[in-house]
Structure formats: structure tokens, C-alpha cells
């Protein structure tokens, strides 16, 4: 529980320091992307804290490249 509160607090403190200068300069696009990335990051870290398994993209990459990897292994051994 404390870990989640810590994560949310970190996010809030970062936004508190980063967003007001952007509002002053009227950089709306920057604000949207900043908040979006921060929300994705915080969601992922809360999922990790709660011990929920997130499917890793590395497995998909391994699957895509496995024919090529086997081919190279066959040539070189």
C-alpha cells in the first residue's frame, strides 16, 4: 500500500514542478504528452507493485525472430 502511495506522490510532485512553466508558455501539446507518458508509467509500476504479471513484448520479438535465429544457428554450427 505504501509503495503505491509513494509512486502516486512521486508522480504528483514531478507534475507540480513541470507543468506550471508549460502552462505559462502555452505548450499544450507538451502537457498532453507528458501527462500521458507519466500515467502509463505509473499504471505499469502500480501493476508491478501489485504483483500482476504483465505480458512482455520480448516474448513476441523472440517469436518473430525465431525462424531467422534457428537458420543462423544451423548455418554456423
Amino acid at each position: 500500500m505504501w509503495a503505491i502511495i509513494g509512486t502516486v506522490c512521486t508522480g504528483a510532485i514531478i507534475s507540480f514542478f513541470e507543468i506550471p512553466p508549460l502552462i505559462k508558455k502555452k505548450c499544450w501539446k507538451e502537457i498532453v504528452i507528458f501527462v500521458l507518458l507519466l500515467l502509463v508509467g505509473m499504471t505499469l509500476s502500480i501493476l508491478i507493485i501489485k504483483d500482476i504479471t504483465i505480458p512482455t513484448p520480448i516474448d513476441w520479438i523472440t517469436k518473430i525472430y525465431s525462424p531467422l535465429a534457428h537458420f543462423m544457428d544451423r548455418i554456423l554450427s
Binding site: S45, I48, I58, T62, I64, Y65, S66, A69, L76
Partner: protein, 361 residues
């Protein structure tokens, strides 16, 4: 222009050397020697020669549009949409690279040095330090590397000189025991560890002052960094033997433990850890910086510094969930990592160069 800083070609040279050494110095000897046995050093020479061909490709590409970095060149040559997709693939590769560097740091410290500290804490501290560096910009990173470089040379010198008494030349024999096949296999796998990643420097070549010097220093840095790695590999084989090197996770760390001069100059393995942390820190910082800068250019933002904090969050979480355990990580490194790096860092730039040459005519 998002980055207004300029670096000199000497600083560029040092960044290339550090980028080559970082990340590879601890893990490469074990990977290479487990594939090519005592002929690992021959395999590494072949890999270096191929690596120089990669550098030829990258310098050609850098001098095609000297004032643009890799993301801008992609959009210029491939057009807006295909260019954006190709640049995004490169940025995803950088994202994975940063998280792999971070996880290597976490694994090393939690198994060898700070055994009772949780891995996440070490990674958080490291990424925070990196964040400060990346926030200060390219000039500061390169100049800090410039100041730390003499210490790096000194430590490497201490390591190699004090290992000379422990050399056993019998460990190198027999040469070519199993023919050419294992050697080719070893050099194929070591292509992806330091050399093909040099494509990253296309992100910072536009900010180097002297272009002609830059080209020369790119080659020189690759050769010098490769030379240091070559020494580490051949010393691992000569001092520890091929079997031991292949079995250990961090053979060069073990090399430091072997140093013993007159029973009082001992236990200096922290020297190796120090070299490694230095180089790994600069590699991570420059990758992190390149990732933020590239993403800002891709999305058309006015400031890249705003992206650093969220990206640090994302890199940290990806490090934790991308590889559930170290076996998964080593499995990925042994199979899909080399073809993946070759596609993104060699085939895409090659296509870019061909299309760019045709378009410029």
C-alpha cells in the same frame, strides 16, 4: 533545433571509446568464449573488422546530410510517414537498450557487490543519476566524460599490468581446435554487443564541430575501444583459461580478484567494477538523452527535457517486467538479440543510405 550545444571531435572520440567499452566489458568475454572456446580472440578480431565496415556505413550516412540527426534524416529521406515508423523502431530499440543496461547494473550489483540491497533500489538510484546528466544536456555529458577519461585509462593500465605475472600461454593452445565454424559463430554474436549499436552516434554527429576530424575519430574510437575489449578477452583466456571464462558470469570481475602482488596489493576487483560503472553510466546517460531528444523530434515538441522524468519511469518499469528472470534474459540475448539489432541498426540505415543516394541525384 532542440539541441544547441556543440561538442569537439576529441570529446566525440572519447564518447565512442566509452560507448564501445561500456556494457560489453563484463559480459562479452563469457558469451564469446563459451561459443568459440580458446579461439575467442580470433573471433573478436573478425568482429572488429566487420564493425569497421558498419562504421563506414554510418559515417557515409552522417555526411549525407551533415546538419541533421538520424530522426530528421529518416523523415527527410523516407518521407513523413514511413520515416516516422522507421525512426520509431530505432527509438524502441534505444528504449530496450537503456533498460537492458539498467538491468545489467541491477543484476551485477545485487549478485556481486551489494548482496542484501533490493535490486530496484540500486536501479532507481542509477536512473536518477542518469536523469540529472541527461537534463544538463549533451555538452555537459561529453565534457564530464572527458574529465573522467584519464582515470579510466589509469585503472585499465593498473588492471592489465598487474595481471602480466599470472599469464599462462598454454591456455591459448590448441589454436583452431574445432575449425572455423565456432569462431564464425562467436563473431556473429559479438557483432550485436558493441559494434552495431554505434548507429546511435548518428543522433549526435550533427552537433560535432569538425566534420572531417569526426569521421577519422569515429574509426579511431572504434579501434581503440575494440582494442581494450580485445585485451580483456585475451587476458581472460590467458589468466583464467577458456573453461573458467565460459562458466563465469562476470569473468573480468574475476580477473581483478586474481591480482596479487607480494601479498599486500590484493582484492582490487573493485577497479574492474569502477571501470564498468563509469562506462556503463555514460552509455546509459547518452542513450537516455538520445531517446528523449529523438522522441521530442518525432512528436514535434519544443523541449525534450520535459520527457525525461516520464521516460525514467517507463525505463525503470520496463526493466522490471521485460525479463521475469535472468534465464529469460540470457535466452533472449542468445537467440533473438543479434538478428533484431542487425535489422534495426544495420539493414534500416543501409536502406536509408541507398534511397538517400538515389534521391540526391
Amino acid at each position: 533545433m532542440l539541441e544547441k550545444g556543440k561538442i569537439s571531435s576529441g570529446e566525440f572520440l572519447i564518447m565512442v571509446i566509452i560507448f564501445n567499452i561500456g556494457g560489453a566489458i563484463l559480459t562479452l568475454p563469457s558469451v564469446l568464449v563459451s561459443l568459440a572456446k580458446q579461439d575467442g580472440w580470433i573471433a573478436y578480431i573478425i568482429a572488429t573488422l566487420i564493425g569497421l565496415c558498419f562504421v563506414l556505413l554510418f559515417t557515409r550516412l552522417a555526411l549525407l546530410y551533415p546538419s541533421m540527426n538520424y530522426i530528421e534524416v529518416n523523415e527527410k529521406i523516407f518521407g513523413i510517414w514511413i520515416g516516422k515508423i522507421s525512426a520509431l523502431l530505432f527509438l524502441l530499440y534505444l528504449y530496450y537498450l537503456s533498460s537492458a543496461l539498467l538491468s545489467e547494473i541491477g543484476n551485477f550489483f545485487s549478485t556481486q557487490v551489494l548482496v542484501e540491497t533490493p535490486m530496484e533500489m540500486i536501479m532507481i538510484l542509477f536512473i536518477l543519476t542518469s536523469l540529472f546528466g541527461a537534463r544538463l544536456g549533451l555538452e555537459v555529458i561529453c565534457r564530464t566524460a572527458f574529465f573522467f577519461f584519464p582515470w579510466l585509462v589509469l585503472l585499465l593500465f593498473i588492471l592489465f599490468v598487474f595481471l602480466i605475472p599470472d599469464i599462462k600461454f598454454e591456455n591459448l593452445q590448441p589454436v583452431f581446435e574445432e575449425g572455423m565454424k565456432p569462431i564464425m559463430r562467436g563473431s556473429y554474436h559479438s557483432l550485436a554487443l558493441p559494434y552495431v549499436q554505434l548507429v546511435f552516434f548518428l543522433m549526435i554527429t550533427p552537433y560535432v564541430h569538425e566534420k572531417a576530424e569526426m569521421k577519422k575519430n569515429f574509426y579511431l574510437g572504434t579501434i581503440l575501444g575494440g582494442g581494450v575489449l580485445f585485451l580483456v578477452i585475451i587476458f581472460s583466456i590467458l589468466v583464467l583459461g577458456a573453461d573458467n571464462t565460459a562458466r563465469l558470469n562476470y569473468p573480468s570481475y574475476k580477473l581483478g580478484m586474481r591480482i596479487s602482488i607480494g601479498n599486500f596489493f590484493e582484492r582490487v576487483e573493485v577497479i574492474v567494477a569502477f571501470i564498468w560503472v563509469f562506462t556503463e553510466y555514460f552509455k546509459l546517460t547518452i542513450c537516455f538523452y538520445g531517446l528523449a531528444l529523438g522522441l521530442a523530434q518525432l512528436l514535434g515538441l519544443k523541449n525534450y527535457k520535459i520527457l525525461l522524468f516520464p521516460l525514467a519511469f517507463l525505463i525503470l518499469t520496463f526493466t522490471i517486467f521485460s525479463h521475469p528472470d535472468i534465464v529469460h534474459y540470457q535466452n533472449f540475448m542468445a537467440t533473438a538479440w543479434t538478428p533484431l539489432s542487425l535489422t534495426i541498426c544495420f539493414i534500416l540505415p543501409l536502406l536509408l543510405l541507398i534511397v538517400g543516394k538515389i534521391r540526391k541525384k
